[in-house]
Subunit: 211 residues, 2 copies
Amino acid sequence: MSTECAATGKSEDIEIWFDFGSNYSYLSVMRIEDLAAKHRVRVNWQPFLLGPIFQSFGWSTSPFVLQKEKGDYAWKDMARLCKKYRIPWKMPTQFPRRGVLPLRVVLVGTGQAWIGDFAKRVMLLNFCLDRDINSQDEIARILTDLGQPTDEVLAQAKSDRTKNRLWVQSQTAKDRKIFGAPTFFVRGEMFWGNDRLEDALEFASEKAERR
Amino acid sequence: MSTECAATGKSEDIEIWFDFGSNYSYLSVMRIEDLAAKHRVRVNWQPFLLGPIFQSFGWSTSPFVLQKEKGDYAWKDMARLCKKYRIPWKMPTQFPRRGVLPLRVVLVGTGQAWIGDFAKRVMLLNFCLDRDINSQDEIARILTDLGQPTDEVLAQAKSDRTKNRLWVQSQTAKDRKIFGAPTFFVRGEMFWGNDRLEDALEFASEKAERR
C-alpha cells in the first residue's frame, strides 16, 4: 500500500540516465519530476556521455545525423511531441551538442534538490534557446539564477575528481548495457526512451504498493 | 463534428505499413482494428518488405540482431508490452522471419474485410506459435479457416502480377522515406512505430472533426 510506503518514509527510485545533447532526453528531463511526484517516486539523476556508447557501435555521431530518413522524421516527431507535452521546441542549429560541463555539474550536485531545475534549464538552453550548453558563462548564469555558489560548483565540476566520475558514469552506462538516452532503471529493470517513462513509473508504483 | 462525418459517410484513413517479420508490427497489427474502430478511422493495410530498406542502410538484417544490447532489450520490451496489451508472446526461435507469401496474400485481398483477421493470424503464427510464416501449408490453413477460396487466393498470390506489386510496394515505402515498421500515415503525416499508433489515430480523429 502506498500509505505504508509513506509511513515508513520509503519510496521507489527511478534512475534517469541522460545526456544534455540528446533530444529525447530533453522530453524526459522536462517531464520526469512532475510525473514522478504524482507516482510518489524519487528521481535519481544519472548523467553520462552518449557519444562513447555510439562510438562503440561504430557510429561517429547520432543516428539522427547518420541516417537521414530517421533524422528528418525525428525532428517532426519532436515538434509533435513538444506540442503534445506543452514543452517549447526550437530545432538546434547544432546537433548533437556537446555538454560535458553541465553533466559534470550534475555530478557535483548529486542528491541535491536543485539538480532537476538545473537540468531543465540546460535542456532549454539547447532545445529552446539554441545556445552553447558547454559554455562556462551560460552554465554560470544558470547556477547563479538557482542561488548556487557558482564559482565553487564550477571549480568542483572542473576538478579531476569530477572528470573521472563522469568517465566512470559513462563506463557504467556501457556495463549496464545502455544503448541510447534517456534510459530509466527501476529496481534494475531497464526502460529505454522517453516513450517508456510512464511505464517505468507505473512499474515503480506497482512495486511500492506490493511492499 | 464526428456526426457530420458519419452523415456524409466520410471517414479518415490510417495506413499501416508493416512486415510480418517485424515484432513491433505484430503489436500494431493485433491492436489497430479495435483502436481504429473506436476512433471511427478506416484501416488501410500496406504490406511491404523491410529487408531491402535495412539493406539500403548497409544493414544485413534487423538492428535487433546486429546490435546485441538493443536486441536483448527489445525482447524484454516485447514481453512487457504484450503483457500490458494482453497479447500472447513467445520469442520466435527464428528472427526475423521471412514472410513474403502472406504479404502477397494481403495484396490479393486489398480492401477486403478478412485482411485484418488474416494479418493477425499470420502474426500469431510467428510471435505466438513460433512457426514458419512463409509455409504454403500454414497460410492455406489460415485462408481456409477464414472461409476464403484458398487455392484461388494462393494462385493469385504467387502470380507475377502480385510479386511485382509487392516489389512496387517496397519501392514506394522507400520513396516515402519509411525506415522501419510499423509506420503509419494519416493524410501524408508519418508516424513511426507501435508507440505512435494512438497519436496517429488521435491525429486522424482531429482532422475528421474539423471537416
